[in-house]
C-alpha cells in the first residue's frame, strides 16, 4: 500500500505540472488576442463612426472613411465564394465518392491540394496577375482579385469538405446502394446535406483567409481607393488599405487602426453567423428535419 501512496503522490505532482502548462498556454493565447484587439480599440475606436463607414477616403486615406473599400472587399469576397463553393464541393465530392481510397488519382490530387494550401499568398498574387489580369485580359479588377482569392481558398474548402464527406457513415452509402440509388442521388440527397457543417466550416476558414488577404490582391485587384463602378474596375480591399495606410502614408495610422477594427469585426460577424447557421441546421438534421 505504501508503494501505491508514493505512486499517487508522483501522479498528482505530474498532474499539477500538466495543468500549469495547459493553463499558461491558454492564458498566453488569450492575452495575445486581448492585447491585439485592445490595441485596435484604444487607437481606432474614436475614429470609428457611421460616417467613417459611409464616406470615401480623402487625403490618401489620412482622413475620410472607407465606404468604397468596404464595397470592394465585399464584392471580391462574393466573387471568391461564388466561384470557389461549387467547384470546391464538386471536387471534394469527386475525390471522396468517385476515387478509390489509396488510389493514385486521390493520392496525387490530395497531395497537390495540401501543397497548394501552404503556398504563400504572394505566389497566388503573381499567378493571378499573370493568368487573370494579363493572359485573360481582365486587368487590375475586382474580378481578377476575386478569382485569385477563389484559387487560394479552394484547397482549404476541398480538404474540409472531403473530410466532412468521409466522416459520413458508410451505412448510409450502403443503404442508398441497396435501394438501387445512383451515387449521384446518394450524394445530393444524403451525403452532401450530412456534410453541410463541414462545408460551412471550410467556407469560413476560406473566407477568413480571403478577407485578410493583402499580397494576393495588390497584384490583382489593385489599390485604387475610389468607389468601383463595375466588377471590371479596380478596387482596394480592406487589408490592402490597412497595409497602404501603415506602410506608405505618413499620418495614416489612426485610420489604419479603425480599418483594422472594422476588418476584425467583419470576420467575427461572418464567423458567428456561420456558427449559428451550422448549429441550427446541424441540430435540425438530427431532431427535426
Amino acid at each position: 500500500m505504501a508503494e501505491m501512496a508514493i505512486t499517487r503522490k508522483n501522479n498528482s505532482a505530474r498532474d499539477l505540472g500538466l495543468m500549469l502548462v495547459v493553463w499558461s498556454a491558454t492564458a498566453i493565447i488569450i492575452a495575445a488576442f486581448t492585447w491585439i484587439i485592445g490595441d485596435f480599440i484604444i487607437h481606432g475606436f474614436e475614429r470609428l463612426s457611421w460616417s467613417f463607414l459611409t464616406t470615401s477616403p480623402s487625403n490618401a486615406g489620412r482622413s475620410g472613411g472607407i465606404a468604397p473599400i468596404l464595397v470592394s472587399t465585399l464584392l471580391i469576397l462574393l466573387i471568391a465564394i461564388t466561384v470557389a463553393l461549387p467547384i470546391g464541393v464538386a471536387t471534394a465530392a469527386f475525390l471522396s465518392e468517385f476515387t478509390r481510397v489509396g488510389g493514385r488519382v486521390r493520392q496525387i490530387t490530395t497531395l497537390s491540394l495540401d501543397i497548394l494550401a501552404g503556398v504563400p499568398s504572394i505566389v497566388f498574387g503573381l499567378f493571378g496577375n499573370a493568368f487573370f489580369c494579363i493572359w485573360l485580359g481582365l486587368g487590375f479588377s475586382i474580378l481578377s482579385g476575386g478569382l485569385t482569392l477563389a484559387c487560394m481558398v479552394l484547397p482549404i474548402l476541398i480538404r474540409t469538405t472531403q473530410a466532412g464527406l468521409s466522416s459520413v457513415p458508410d451505412e448510409w452509402r450502403r443503404g442508398a446502394s441497396a435501394l438501387g440509388l445512383s451515387r449521384g442521388a446518394a450524394l445530393t440527397h444524403i451525403l452532401l446535406p450530412a456534410a453541410t457543417p463541414a462545408i460551412a466550416a471550410g467556407l469560413m476558414l476560406g473566407i477568413g483567409r480571403a478577407a485578410a488577404e493583402t499580397a494576393a490582391l495588390i497584384f490583382t485587384s489593385g489599390y485604387v481607393d475610389r468607389m468601383p463602378s463595375s466588377l471590371d474596375d479596380s478596387g482596394r480591399a480592406l487589408a490592402v488599405h490597412i497595409y497602404d495606410l501603415t506602410m506608405n502614408v505618413a499620418g495614416g495610422d489612426a485610420n489604419a487602426y479603425a480599418s483594422a477594427l472594422v476588418l476584425i469585426s467583419l470576420l467575427i460577424l461572418i464567423n458567428s453567423v456561420a456558427v449559428t447557421l451550422t448549429n441550427r441546421y446541424g441540430s435540425q438534421r438530427i431532431t427535426a428535419s
Binding site: 443503404g175 446502394s177 435501394l179
Partner: protein, 280 residues
C-alpha cells in the same frame, strides 16, 4: 441485354450435389451456382451452390467468418461495392444471371432488397426516407407515392405508430422502429426478394420479437433470405436452413435442409456439433 437462360431443373440438379434439396416441390426464386468469393485474392467462400425457394424463409447460419454475409451480398451484387472483392459463379434470378456485367444493378436491387444488421435510416424525415428512393426511381405522381408509402408502412406495422409524425426525423425513432422503417423503405420499391443480414442482432429482445414476427408475415408475399447467429431464431422463422462452416480460413456450405430436419434429425457431424452447441 444478353440473357442466359438456365432451367430450374438444371439448378436443382446442381443443388443435389449438396445432400438434399430444400423444398424440391417449390419454385426457385434465386439460384446460386458455384459462388466463390475472394477478397484481394484471398478466398473467403468456395463453391456455394444453393437454391432459394420462393415465398419461403431461408436462414443462413454458421460461425462468424464463414462467409454468410459475403454470400448474401453476392445475391444482389452489393459485393460490387467492396474494394478488392471478386465473385465468380452465377446467380440466376428470373432466368437471368445477375452477375452478368450488363445487368442493371440499380434495377436489380429494387427487385432484391437488402436490410442490414444496424438500422440505417437516412438523416431525413420518416416520409422522405421512403419518398426519396421512389422519386429517384421515377415515381413522379405524388398521390401514388403517398399510397405506396402508406402501404409499405402498414405492411411493417409502423403506419399507426408514425402516421401523425411522418415529417419528423427518422433517427428519432426507436431502434426497432428504425429497422422496420428500413424494411418498409425496401418494400416500397416492390421487391420480390428481401436479403436480411442479421436484422435483429442490434435490437433489444422486444423489438427483435416484433421484427421477427414481421419477417414471418413477409413470407406470404416475399422470398426472404436471412443471415442469423441466433439458432433459436432460425428454428422459429426459417423454412429451410443452410449451414456454413469454414476450413483453412475459407467458408463453404455444409448442407441446406428443411428446418425440421436440421434441428431434429441432423445427419452431418458438423451440423450435429453446431446445433447442439458443441462447436461454433
Amino acid at each position: 441485354m444478353k440473357l442466359e437462360f438456365v432451367s430450374y431443373d438444371e439448378c436443382k440438379r446442381a443443388d443435389s450435389n449438396i445432400r438434399q434439396l430444400a423444398q424440391p416441390t417449390h419454385e426457385v426464386a434465386l439460384a446460386a451456382k458455384g459462388i466463390t468469393i475472394t477478397y484481394s485474392g484471398a478466398r473467403a467462400l468456395r463453391d456455394v451452390t444453393l437454391s432459394i425457394a420462393r415465398n419461403e424463409i431461408t436462414a443462413l447460419i454458421g460461425p462468424s467468418g464463414c462467409g454468410k454475409t459475403s454470400f448474401l451480398s453476392s445475391l444482389n451484387r452489393m459485393t460490387d461495392l467492396i474494394p478488392g472483392c471478386k465473385v465468380t459463379g452465377h446467380v440466376y434470378h428470373d432466368g437471368i444471371n445477375i452477375h452478368e456485367p450488363k445487368t442493371d444493378v440499380q434495377e436489380l436491387r429494387c427487385h432484391i432488397g437488402m436490410i442490414f444488421q444496424k438500422p440505417n435510416p437516412f438523416p431525413l424525415s420518416i416520409r422522405r426516407n421512403l419518398e426519396m428512393p421512389l422519386k429517384e426511381h421515377g415515381l413522379t405522381n405524388a398521390a401514388q407515392r403517398y399510397e405506396r408509402i402508406e402501404h409499405a408502412l402498414t405492411e411493417v406495422g409502423l403506419w399507426s405508430e408514425v402516421k401523425d409524425r411522418l415529417d419528423q426525423p427518422a433517427l428519432a425513432l426507436s431502434g426497432g422502429q428504425q429497422q422496420r422503417l428500413c424494411i418498409a423503405r425496401a418494400l416500397a420499391l416492390e421487391p420480390s426478394i428481401l436479403l436480411m443480414d442479421e436484422p435483429c442482432s442490434a435490437l433489444d429482445p422486444i423489438s427483435s420479437a416484433v421484427v421477427e414476427d414481421l419477417i414471418i408475415r413477409l413470407r406470404e408475399k416475399y422470398t426472404v433470405v436471412v443471415v442469423t447467429h441466433n439458432l433459436g431464431q432460425a428454428k422459429r422463422i426459417a423454412d429451410s436452413v443452410a449451414l456454413f462452416w469454414f476450413q483453412d480460413g475459407c467458408g463453404y456450405l455444409v448442407e441446406h435442409t428443411p428446418t425440421d430436419a436440421i434441428f431434429n434429425a441432423a445427419q452431418n457431424a458438423i451440423t450435429k456439433a453446431y446445433i447442439s452447441g458443441a462447436r461454433g
